[in-house]
Symmetry: C2
Subunit: 661 residues, 2 copies
């Protein structure tokens, strides 16, 4: 009891994930708006601030932003996040004793009461305030003392006016009695990613298939020659499946067959052979220097390179011999291969993540990340993180980002919802999602709303993929090019970050069984005809151009769904918080038939008056139109299943004209 | 990193108020259902328990209840709360290594795989389990070792069957490897009140007005004679305004006038005079022994006595002279009187709650509570708690309930919502509410839903009062006896705890101004004619009888609103969780005109099939009817504005008849 110097309550702080257990996420240039319930007994005037600092060794000074009361004891302040990295923040509050006194004095004066004693109390408060001001700014202390002297003259119209002067209250509030401060019981964190953590268009391809000849193993030099093609489609991240030496033991053959012929290349995810492991490059792709040149060339095209991190080994990985303590052993002494019965992954062995050698194992895996970071890689797409201990990822990502805050981690967590969300909370920058399987209207609206609004959106950013080397969804198998246009447009316009696996632009839709590609690149070299008839390269390029030219598409939390009178037509908007960029999207989910719908334009959401004519420009065709009022009609066809309109108000009026007056 | 022995995540624990900062509330005989998200990477079989114990010096043993998976990684368990007092609870989980092994073995056997090595692994797990079992139950250890020996025989149909035997898995799961345990990072609390903390019907009256003669100060002996009257109306708590000596300085006169005549009694809330303070009894009410006899007589009628705790003093209170350090002093040395400008309370001085002498002040006030607790009082209605520091209440209530867990505190927090809710969270058993001002349909539905469902209902219990000595609401001033019936019925049927201030049953509705009673008892002696024509004593008695006879009304969280096709008719149900008591209430909010409505009977909520005829008994009239299907019609009049039906299914069928077979 004796430790409580004040009685201010601070609760309901937001954002706060799981009582501060996890950081919230933002990107550079965004700000953080913090709210809290702040109150105490009685009627005292309170002051509250958000305190924050960047958690770097260099800059540990706390800064403050005054919170403003929103009503109902809710307070709010916003601070800018100019730098990549981790920040801490919390809330403090204290009673503003002089402002409280002023508020009571005013009511007493209004009631015609004698305030002789009150003025003496006010003078005492000002003198105490002056004492706190003196070491900071002597002139302020002098002004406060002078005001105290006036108050001591006793009641008069002039003295009362001096006491109630707003400037005096503001001056006194700058020197509060901080011994009465209350602080939120937790320090919270926000991790601020560089922009690529939130906005990006990813293109995945196999460098070994880049030679153009199915019988010649592609190289990084071949892959370099693909960069203009990728850049011309508007992508800014190329993601490469594992580039390391591939094991020979139990190597998988064409179409995942159990035995590979001598010339079959094996799965890139069976990492490690005599030539090296996670820090080596497959000799047929080239050298480490070749890889670094590829990264450099990509950068010249404005493209980041993302590497696949699959923390597992082929039985031939050097780790297996050098560090048997890192693996599970069977009672007969052999190392266990991976399996999820009845499925077996004979070409892969897993680490013993929590075993006695975990400390050296975890540090070695950290060194793998740092090895590639030091060679210019700043984006990692992490394979199956949900099969490794979640505390490992929390430890790893924090350690890496403490030194390299610009590193982005994409979680391939195609797993149960709670696990997927926890991986996001413990640090993954982005996550794969169930979008890949969400194809109809209600499920898309519900799921994307959940993904792009708090609390989920405070820690998880959904990277939307219409296909991956593991997943050729049913709609793409059935729906032909219209289905590819629909799914590409959805991914590119529903989230600020999306990606596709090469072949998507060629409308490659032949399945082996289930959702497996026929003749999958995972197990063989391929040669693609990038100019294949029926490709949708131009359409993809248009989508990425529209994303680049419209800021609303680059923000993750800018999505809202609106009413369209059809269960096959999705209608949504993306907008910047300040409304300077506002886009409407109407999209048919039907690859087979034309669909028409009345769209209910969300005028108030867009800040448009009911009775104003505004212009919309359709960004795929470039055509413009004048709209007015809350409804519009759209017809979408399998060939043109999507319309994207930028909303442009007419803002100039005669009164703004230079010579009007 | 090295401290992490496992990788199980426990999050999303419910109930949990503000990250465990505050206890949840239940009453004796209820149970606590705890849920949590429990998961880890991969596919291991997990086990989870809720651990709990009562926080008394005597019983500190932790107990456990196994949690069951609900799907989607959500787990649940329920434990009983048989005793009054505080409990701690948390969640633990661990991987069930043998069950995980069994699950994988089964899939491998189904896939026709050689499981030689697997059986050796299983045998090793069973031997480790046996070692843990040995100190607990040797026979279990022997069974586990025997099973291990069987597994070592190697693959055969019999050995596989033995390994997959469900009894063996269940036995092994009783001896888990608790070194792998994960525990929720917080220990949570539930405070279990005695039943009166949740269910009660309160009657407030001024003992000094109990003589029947406005010129003779009532005594505790007079008050005793009112007990049968109060009991016959079905009340089980009588709440007395302060019974202490009343100050003479600045004593308030009739209708709150600033000067009192020599015979005027003053406000009971101006506590303290030469005769004593918070531990004394007003001499004209009688002696402390008289009070204790009153408490005893009330108990004989099954009635608890609630005292008013107003922690403030008249200027004549002995504390003022004996402990000047407990009060605010003005610069001229005088003690500040209470005020909320322009309102002044010249007859009251406030404590300096957070001043230098707070420690002795807080302990003295604690001793006031304990003084009355030791004299048989177990319910306190706390006056204006929101004008005192909230940390004081948290400290006080916890200290008192640590020793006397049966003490109930009602918070008169007619204040801002966040303050009201925080007072509930820090320990007040019940709270006054805004019900007093909620009179129309939508506002009643919204507010009562908020009050009676989590998260609010986990810590706050609304005690509904249609009137108080300070509040004669407008509807009662305007609507005559029908308005009193409506407001009484609402209070008595919407919450498990309600109360009225005497005179309500006489339909006393004359106001001075605003919501103040004319000739308020707060400032003068009164004589009431309890048989006054037009009284609604019998109606009140019926309401309380119905509450006593129907368990659903005694539970706080049993309310649900349903559709009635009229904006003047409210339709709601109360039901026990097991459905053994289900009641429907239709209530007209219109004191002036008859109202009819179609009621949409919530068949699925009540567990009634669409095509079954069921009986309803109207509990005010006693009449019964047969209903069928989802709609009913009701006509309510100002004279009979409410109908309360108990739903009674016909459950007997020929197949249940004794001689049927």
């Amino acid at each position: 009891m004796s430790a409580r110097t004040g009685s201010i309550i601070i609760e309901g702080v937001s954002p706060e994930i799981d009582a501060g257990r996890h950081p919230v996420k933002r990107v550079v240039g965004e700000s953080l708006t913090v709210e809290a319930d702040v109150f105490k007994e009685g009627h005292d005037v309170l002051a509250a601030v958000v305190r924050y600092r960047q958690l770097t060794p260099q800059s540990t000074e706390w800064q403050e932003r005054a919170m403003k009361p929103l009503g109902n004891d809710r307070w709010q302040a916003t601070f800018a996040l100019p730098r990549n990295g981790r920040y801490a923040y919390t809330v403090e509050a204290w009673p503003d004793l002089f402002a409280t006194w002023v508020s009571e004095l005013k009511r007493k004066v209004d009631a015609g009461r004698d305030v002789h004693s009150e003025l003496l109390e006010g003078a005492a408060l000002l003198e105490q305030t002056a004492a706190r001001a003196r070491p900071v700014l002597a002139s302020d202390a002098q002004r406060l003392e002078a005001a105290a002297a006036v108050l001591k003259q006793g009641p008069s119209v002039e003295v009362t006016a001096a006491a109630l002067d707003a400037g005096l209250t503001a001056l006194a509030s700058r020197y509060p009695d901080r011994t009465l401060v209350a602080r939120h019981e937790r320090e919270l964190e926000v991790f601020v990613d560089r922009e690529r953590g939130q906005y990006g268009s990813w293109y995945e391809f196999f460098p070994r298939s880049a030679s153009g000849d199915p019988h010649r193993h592609g190289t990084f030099a071949d892959a370099e020659r693909m960069l203009p093609y990728i850049r011309d489609m508007g992508f800014d991240v190329v993601y490469l499946p594992p580039i390391h030496p591939i094991g020979r033991t139990a190597r998988k053959g064409k179409n995942n067959s159990l035995s590979a012929g001598p010339e079959e290349p094996g799965s890139p995810w069976a990492i490690g052979a005599a030539e090296g492991g996670h820090k080596a490059v497959h000799p047929r792709l080239g050298t480490l220097e070749d890889f670094q040149r590829f990264v450099q060339r990509a950068a010249e095209h404005g493209i980041d390179v993302a590497l696949d991190i699959a923390f597992q080994c082929s039985p031939d990985h050097p780790y297996v011999k050098e560090h048997p303590e890192w693996f599970h052993h069977r009672p007969d002494g052999t190392i266990k291969t991976a399996e999820n019965p009845p499925k077996r992954y004979e070409d892969i062995v897993n680490f013993d993540w929590l075993g006695p050698a975990r400390e050296s194992l975890w540090h070695e895996l950290e060194s793998v990340i740092l090895f590639w970071v030091e060679r210019g890689v700043r984006i990692f797409r992490v394979d199956n993180p949900h099969t490794k201990p979640i505390p490992f990822w929390e430890w790893l990502i924090r350690r890496v980002q403490d030194v390299f805050p610009d590193v982005v981690f994409l979680s391939e967590a195609f797993t149960r919802p709670k696990v997927m969300k926890r991986l996001a909370k413990v640090g993954f920058t982005q996550s794969y999602t169930y979008f890949t399987w969400r194809v109809f209207k209600q499920e898309l609206e519900e799921y994307l709303t959940e993904l792009t609004t708090p609390p989920v959106a405070d820690s998880m950013r959904g990277n939307l993929w219409p296909n991956t080397p593991d997943i050729l969804p049913e709609l793409l198998q059935r729906g032909g090019p219209p289905a590819f246009r629909i799914r590409g447009a959805l991914a590119a316009t529903l989230s600020s970050v999306w990606g596709m696996y090469s072949g998507f632009e060629l409308c490659e839709g032949r399945a082996l069984k289930g959702e497996e590609y026929l003749d999958s690149e995972k197990y063989e070299l391929k040669a693609w005809d990038w100019d294949r008839p029926g490709n949708i390269r131009d359409f993809i390029a248009s989508l990425n151009r529209i994303r680049r030219e419209n800021r609303a598409f680059q923000l993750y939390k800018s999505l809202a769904f609106h009413r369209a009178d059809s269960d096959r037509v999705l209608f949504y908007s993306r907008r910047t918080p300040d409304g300077t960029n506002q886009v409407l999207v109407a999209l048919s989910l039907d690859p087979y038939e034309a669909q028409e719908a009345v769209l209910h334009v969300p005028l108030s959401h867009l800040g448009l008056p009911q009775d104003e004519t505004y212009q919309v420009q359709e960004l795929l065709s470039g055509g413009s139109a004048l709209w007015r009022g809350g409804s519009a009609h759209v017809k979408l066809t399998p060939e043109r299943p999507v319309a994207i309109w930028r909303v442009e108000r007419f803002l100039r009026r005669e009164s703004g004209f230079d010579y009007y007056d």
